[in-house]
């Protein structure tokens, strides 16, 4: 076209970013890569091709790691970890800072390489991915610097196995590696097989930064390599970002191994538009929500919920906006939507949408390139919660929509999902926004914005979107552990005997469910004897149905989670007061049960512990993160929900209170199983609860066989977390069963804990009892 013709038509024309430097870099590397192990690249084995999804061209040949490669990488990481973890924080900070600077210096090379490999528009890799990567290393250089002073009681986990996905290849690498090495861990990371190139360039950067050998190791290959990492005996922690299906398998595979685990999984995040929203801005937000990175974003706002009164007008505007999206070569600086990562993913998207018969489908009226993996932006309206596409993650540029009538219905629909990663809401009413945001079941909520990320604000999900946070202070827990000595815990057996009772007046201990004393569903009880064989009484044997009833009661007591910290403190103090009034009786009971003389001390510690959590109830504050926007990210600490806790056997009262008090102080509801060996103190305790204004269902107490009850609790899909400090060896079974709904677990892995000392209370318990939700609120008028 001549200049004059363009003058008349005002078309955009091509605006290609040059790929020359990135392609030259690949050629310089021989267009072939080995693994990065112990500071050097191994010999390439040319096992598979890395392709450009926009053109189908092969960019380089990559090596599939075998067990010996993974072993070598883990060995290098292990060898490096001691020295690396022992460095002063400042020394590690220098390396992280150098990495950040080097990435910045080579930012365009990284961006172009990412776009070539992944298919995302160059605008995104240049303006979002790579700057965020730099930011992550800068931020965590600071965390390394501050670790000695700010986290004096915590230390590195050791060797971390990290598996990252293909949608944000380098950014997810940064999210994993930066906090890990800042805290003194060493890593073995596997990039996705579709998108390994920027990870290999990053390896080169590590060398240039002079990072000690073995601190960062990168092995390439498919899921089989991931499995080798997950199952490796000498890895202390697994961090995975990817699909819920694979996350579940990893949870099962690592169960009982003692490996720490964080999972950042799928989502079907709601995007709620209230009728008083800035409609044009909400529509533009959708471009960033579902047409960002071709919709291949775990937290994509893929479920559009529009208030009924504005729905038609909203959809009309939205369709017009979709028509303006430009789809094309990812290297073109003037396109909005690039290529889907691989033909396999393109087929998945196509099949899911083609199989749908519900609602009305609108495809953007915007030309697609003739070749390559492209999928047109799509909107499906008129769906219902029952529609498969409203429930299942598509992971493509497909927006599914339905309407709602009221704010409470919006919340109900939004939460009607197994996922809980992110949520977006649009309203100009601050009351509505700040009312709704805490009610949405999600790890991240954006108000009048979407897909905002920063290293300073934790990212991660609830429910089947996984657990753990990446970024912020809250993210450091995923890469540190408390410094403490460990001691093996052995099974504590109940005493046996055949003597008669010490007191002929029978007292019937019952289960405590929904604020009522309940006989066990099965109708069985077990005799409880003193160490001298005297019959102390009978404890009910709870079964599955008692668990079911207790969980139902706990789930129903959700009002507790909305009460104020002040009220919860009052009730905890009141429990302490009433326990104190019966201290002598409880002390005697404990002595009789355990055959020791520590009852009095245990009761006094239990009272003190109740005070501790009464104190914390209104003081475990959230944070306001310093995110780089005009706005705030409110890191709110929310209760986990319903926690099933298998209480310690050795301290029958203190153990129960040590779990119950932090849980309910933070607003959770609990199903507690009493000490298996010495259950009666726990069953006496419900009388204290009954006189202390604890609302029905907030605390439920069962007695019986730990292994059996733990299994039912861990299997229960309406239980959000299971804790176990039982002396029965049930940690592996709990973790394995928890995979079904990806509930949080906190288990002792057969390690003892001193319940009477400082390890028996404090921040670890509060952290386990809360989830951090980051609510982003940009502001400005």
């Amino acid at each position: 076209m001549t200049v004059k013709e363009i003058f008349d038509t005002m078309e955009y024309g091509p605006a290609p970013e040059s790929a020359a430097d990135a392609l030259a870099w690949l050629v310089d590397q021989g267009s072939s890569f080995g693994h990065f192990i112990n500071g050097d690249f191994t010999k390439a084995t040319d096992s598979f091709d890395s392709k450009n999804p926009a053109t189908g061209e092969t960019l380089a040949k990559l090596s599939q790691a075998g067990q010996s490669d993974v072993d070598a990488a883990v060995k290098a990481a292990r060898a490096a970890q001691g020295k690396w973890g022992a460095l002063p924080g400042h020394s590690r900070a220098r390396y992280l800072y150098a990495i950040a600077r080097l990435i910045q210096k080579h930012s365009r090379l990284f961006a172009v390489l990412e776009t070539l490999d992944n298919g995302k528009p160059i605008r995104e890799s240049r303006d979002i991915d790579i700057p965020q990567v730099q930011r992550h290393f800068y931020y965590h250089a600071g965390m390394a610097q501050l670790m000695d002073a700010e986290l004096p009681d915590r230390e590195a986990l050791g060797v971390c196995g990290q598996i990252v996905p293909w949608n944000f290849p380098l950014l997810m690498l940064a999210w994993k590696i930066a906090p890990a090495i800042a805290m003194g861990n060493t890593v073995v990371l596997k990039p996705a097989e579709y998108t390994s190139l920027t990870a290999l360039l990053f390896a080169d950067i590590c060398r240039q930064a002079g990072l000690p050998k073995g601190v960062v190791n990168i092995v390439t290959g498919d899921g089989a390599v991931g499995e080798m990492i997950v199952n490796h005996k000498d890895i202390d922690k697994i961090a995975f970002t990817g699909s819920t299906t694979v996350g579940r398998k990893i949870r099962e595979a690592t169960a009982g191994s003692g490996k720490a685990l964080t999972l950042e999984l799928g989502g079907k995040s709601p995007y709620i538009v209230f009728d008083d929203a800035d409609i044009d801005s909400a529509i533009e937000g959708l471009v960033d929500a579902i047409w960002f990175n071709q919709g291949q974003v775990c937290c994509a706002g893929s479920r559009l919920l529009v208030q009924e009164g504005i729905a038609d007008a909203f959809y009309k505007k939205l369709r017009a906006r979709m028509d303006g999206l430009r789809i094309g070569s990812p290297l073109d600086k003037c396109i909005d939507v690039g290529a889907v990562v691989d033909p396999v993913q393109l087929k998945t998207i196509t099949d899911m949408v083609d199989a749908n018969t519900d609602g009305q489908t609108y495809v953007a009226d915007s030309p697609l390139p003739a070749d390559g993996c492209f999928y047109a932006p799509t909107l499906i309206t008129g769906l219902s919660t029952a529609s498969k596409l409203m429930q299942e993650e598509i992971f493509g540029p497909v927006l599914c929509s339905m309407t709602f009538r009221t704010p409470s219905e919006a919340v109900e629909i939004a939460n009607n999902t197994r996922y809980g990663l992110a949520a977006t809401l649009w309203t100009e009413n601050v009351n509505l926004a700040l009312d709704i945001a805490p009610k949405l079941v999600a790890g991240v909520v954006w108000v009048n914005a979407t897909n905002l990320f920063d290293a300073s604000a934790g990212f991660g999900g609830v429910r089947e979107s996984g657990f753990g946070r990446e970024g912020g202070w809250e993210g450091l827990h995923a890469y540190t552990k408390p410094i403490s000595a460990t001691k093996k815990l052995t099974k504590i057996e109940a005493f046996t005997g055949d003597d008669g009772p010490t007191d002929p007046l029978d007292r019937t201990a019952k289960l405590y469910i929904g604020g009522k004393q309940a006989r066990p569903d099965g109708g069985y009880s077990q005799n409880v004897y003193s160490s001298k064989g005297k019959l102390l009484g009978q404890a009910p044997i709870a079964n599955r149905k008692d668990i079911r009833n207790a969980v139902e009661a706990a789930a129903g007591a959700k009002a507790w989670s909305k009460t104020t910290g002040h009220l919860r403190a009052q009730i905890l103090y009141y429990i302490a007061e009433n326990l104190s009034a019966r201290a002598e009786e409880f002390a005697k009971r404990i002595d009789a049960l355990t055959g020791k003389r520590g009852g009095e001390a245990e009761v006094q510690t239990a009272i003190s512990r109740l005070f501790t959590y009464a104190a914390w109830a209104d003081k475990y504050d959230g944070q306001v993160h310093g995110v780089p926007i005009r706005g705030v990210a409110l890191a709110m600490k929310e209760p986990v929900g319903v926690i099933g806790a298998i209480c310690p056997d050795e301290t029958p009262l203190l153990g129960l209170i040590s779990l119950m008090a932090p849980a309910i102080a933070m607003g959770n509801r609990v199903v507690l199983t009493a000490s298996e060996a010495f259950p009666l103190a726990a069953l006496d305790f419900y009388q204290v609860l009954e006189t202390s204004d604890v609302p029905a269902g907030v605390v439920n107490i069962l007695s019986g066989n730990h292994a059996e009850l733990a299994q039912t609790l861990a299997d229960h899909l309406n239980v959000d977390a299971v804790w176990s400090f039982s002396s029965s060896d049930i940690s592996a079974d709990i973790e394995k069963a928890s995979a079904a709904n990806l509930k949080r677990t906190w288990v002792n892995n057969a390690q003892a804990r001193d319940w009477s000392g400082p390890d028996g209370e404090g921040r670890s318990f509060l952290e386990a009892a809360t989830e951090v939700k980051n609510i982003w609120v940009p502001y400005g008028e």
């Binding site: 004059k4 005002m10 929203a277 044009d280 937000g285």
Partner: protein, 330 residues
């Protein structure tokens, strides 16, 4: 020096191709329902330059288009007849002739000349036969606080003097006080006084306090029959910005969707770089569509923008960065 062909003197005016916005009754429900989320609007404004890029011949064509959309402006207390004549000459030959020849658009002119009332006669005479309309700022520009009847009379006299476009200033206080009826009545009176001349409503957005006010004032002025809405006088401390533009053009889009009438848009003040002009054009193209990229529906109010574009065009042709003194001053 002189344009080689004689054009009709209305070829760039809205009525030539579009039915003129007749206005509509003031719809306060609509006005009060308007929302503008500042942070979100700023984010969109900030990313437009990263999302859209025009290169090579396309860039040259777009820059030529930008020239055709400029209201070449002088609004200074020290304006004289000769100064205005010089500017008119520049409007008729905005770029060195041989550069335009090379680019294949020899007849290019700016969209209009924009002056104070006293300079209308000079400008009309200087531009005679060129087809370039003269726009006059009016109604006690820039503050708009002279007596109402004098403001209306100023419009009448400017139209009588030959101005084809009148850039009026609204009473900012009506917006700040939420007195939409007063704003509507004022605008309607100005429009009536304009007769066949086209009226551009200057909102002085830098003085309206919030983007929400900008959105509401935009709507009210369109309801009262504005042919164009314009950001600024160029005399406020903050003039045209991308967020303000986004709000105003979205209001224009809504007005068109609701009434079927296209209202024009003129950002003014602070747009001085070729690169900025490209971003504005991309914003208009994406948010309003190609139809708005013509002089009857879009203008840049600018004085120094042209110089930067000239340098960029010479660079496009020669591959060498240009110097300001190689191009005739305006």
């Amino acid at each position: 020096m002189q344009a080689t062909t004689i054009k009709t003197d209305t070829h760039q005016l809205p009525q030539a191709v579009e039915p003129r916005n007749p206005g509509m009754p003031l719809d306060l429900d609509w006005v009060s329902s308007v929302q503008a989320n500042t942070s979100a609007i700023e984010r969109r404004a900030k990313t437009i330059s990263g999302r859209r890029s025009v290169k090579k011949d396309y860039q040259a064509a777009w820059l030529l288009k930008a020239i055709s959309l400029i209201d070449l402006t002088t609004l200074s207390g020290d304006d004289t007849e000769d100064r205005v004549k010089r500017l008119c000459a520049k409007a008729m030959q905005p770029v060195r002739a041989e550069l335009l020849e090379t680019l294949g658009v020899p007849e290019l002119t700016t969209g209009a000349i924009c002056v104070y009332h006293d300079m209308i006669d000079t400008a009309v005479t200087a531009l005679s036969g060129s087809g370039i309309p003269v726009a006059a700022v009016s109604t006690g520009f820039p503050a708009g606080l002279s007596p109402f009847h004098l403001r209306v009379e100023e419009i009448r006299q400017s139209v009588a003097a030959g101005a084809k476009e009148i850039d009026i200033v609204i009473s900012r206080r009506h917006v700040l006080q939420g007195n939409w009826q007063a704003l509507y009545d004022e605008m309607k009176a100005f429009r009536e006084a304009c007769g066949d001349a086209h009226v551009k409503a200057i909102l002085a957005t830098g003085e309206l306090g919030t983007l929400r006010n900008v959105a509401r004032a935009s709507l009210v002025c369109m309801m009262a029959g504005a042919d164009f809405i314009k950001t600024s006088t160029g005399k406020e401390s903050v003039n045209a910005t991308l967020p303000v533009s986004l709000v105003m053009i979205r209001a224009i889009r809504d007005f068109y969707d609701r009434t079927g009438y296209r209202v024009g848009y003129k950002p003014a003040g602070g747009i001085s770089k070729a690169k900025d002009a490209l971003v504005y054009l991309a914003l208009i193209k994406d948010e309003l569509g190609d139809r708005w990229l013509q002089p009857d529906l879009f203008r840049f109010g600018a004085s120094s923008l042209l110089g930067d574009i000239e340098r960029q065009l010479e660079h496009h042709i020669t591959g060498k960065y240009s110097a300001g003194y190689r191009h005739a001053m305006g």
